[in-house]
């Protein structure tokens, strides 16, 4: 019974399970799960009542956002971060929960290879290990959204995709 339940649970996650058993030598269970069912250490941030998980592997550092931060270069907001200029992506503006970038809150520097973005949010909640859940394609493919997870209190939230965040079109604010 128990073994059948485990097998069903593994198969539901598109994995498989194999058993090697020899008399007197013991039994080996091998459970293989696809990468989509994986645990990611993530930084939880809040922007306009929405909570997002940012994979910690891509987070370089964070700091408070002050009114003097941000310069406009070619209609994109940039910030001087250590020795370089990094474009600011306000999570609320990008995800459509506010019309204009916030003036206070936190900046989270996300880095992927040579590219970097400073994400503007209201609050840094903390670090948590989250189980990555696939998003059904019916919800569309918003740039910067990689998957979803369920928090301890039962709320489903989105996991951001660092690669997608780098590809956000920063010049699209010209029309606004």
């Amino acid at each position: 019974m128990g073994l059948a339940a485990v097998r069903d649970a593994v198969r539901r996650q598109a994995g498989d399970i194999t058993i090697d058993s020899a008399p007197g030598r013991g039994t080996t269970f091998r459970i293989r799960l696809p990468m989509t069912v994986s645990i990611v250490r993530a930084l939880l941030v809040r922007a306009d009542d929405e909570t997002y998980a940012i994979p910690l592997s891509a987070v370089a550092e964070s700091r408070k956002l002050t009114a003097v931060d941000g310069h406009e270069v070619n209609h994109a907001d940039v910030i001087r971060w250590r020795d370089r200029l990094v474009p600011i992506v306000d999570l609320g503006v990008h995800f459509g929960t506010r019309p204009a970038p916030r003036k206070a809150g936190y900046l989270i520097a996300v880095q992927l290879g040579p590219r970097a973005r400073a994400l503007a949010a209201d609050l840094i909640i903390g670090v948590e290990d989250v189980v990555v859940r696939r998003l059904d394609p019916i919800v569309g493919r918003a740039p910067g959204v990689g998957g979803s997870t369920v928090l301890g209190d039962g709320r489903p939230i989105l996991i951001l995709d660092p690669r997608g965040l780098m590809d956000i079109d920063l010049t699209s604010r010209v029309a606004a």
């Binding site: 459509g96 929960t97 019916i138 979803s148 997870t149 709320r155 939230i157």
Partner: protein, 196 residues
């Protein structure tokens, strides 16, 4: 690949005949047994709708629906169904109504279509009914457009009409509605449409 040449001997003809008998038998059977079908009925706006009970896995109360940015307009967001993240499609919007607030009566019909699990947000769940297949009327041709091909038929239940929906079709979001989504991400989703 080397296929054996077809053999036209008696044995093959008998087998082919047996196959055709079997095919005819399976074709004929459903007509006789499926006169009574079980449907789940629910309310969207002021109308009663129905979905085949085979498509609806369960009916749950609405808890947190997390918004998904830039999602197609009828997608209300994602919900947590016992640890599984399931998209929630607002059936009001899918059927051409304006979105409405969630009330204590609102329910999510958890639908299984193929391997996918999708929640349908409705205004209220009604009942599970057995309907006589023979009494299902096709919708009048002039009121069915390509956009409303999800209507299977209409069933008269007492004084009420139940509009029977095709689960698979209602879960397909037409491109027109997807495009609408872009305009509604920033603006309030409940704004009246001003079509000129």
């Amino acid at each position: 690949m080397t296929a054996a040449p077809p053999v036209h001997d008696g044995r093959h003809r008998v087998l082919a005949f047996a196959d055709s008998l079997q095919a005819a038998a399976t074709r004929a059977e459903p007509v006789a047994t499926s006169q009574w079908e079980t449907w789940v009925t629910f309310r969207v706006g002021t109308e009663l709708y129905g979905l085949a009970v085979s498509a609806v896995r369960e009916i749950v109360r609405v808890r947190t629906i997390t918004r998904v940015p830039h999602a197609p307009y009828p997608i209300r967001g994602i919900i947590n169904l016992r640890g599984r993240v399931v998209p929630a499609l607002d059936l009001r919007v899918r059927l051409g109504h304006a979105p409405a607030d969630i009330t204590p009566d609102s329910r999510i019909l958890v639908c299984h279509v193929g391997e996918r699990v999708i929640g349908l947000l409705v205004d209220a769940a009604h009942q599970v009914v057995r309907l006589d297949r023979q009494q299902v009327e096709a919708p009048p041709v002039d009121i069915v457009s390509e956009q409303s091909d999800y209507v299977l038929g209409v069933y008269e239940q007492g004084a009420a009409f139940v509009i029977l929906l095709n689960a698979e079709r209602v879960l397909l979001i037409p491109d027109g509605l997807v495009m609408n989504g872009a305009h509604h991400t920033l603006a309030s989703a409940s704004q009246p449409e001003n079509q000129g």
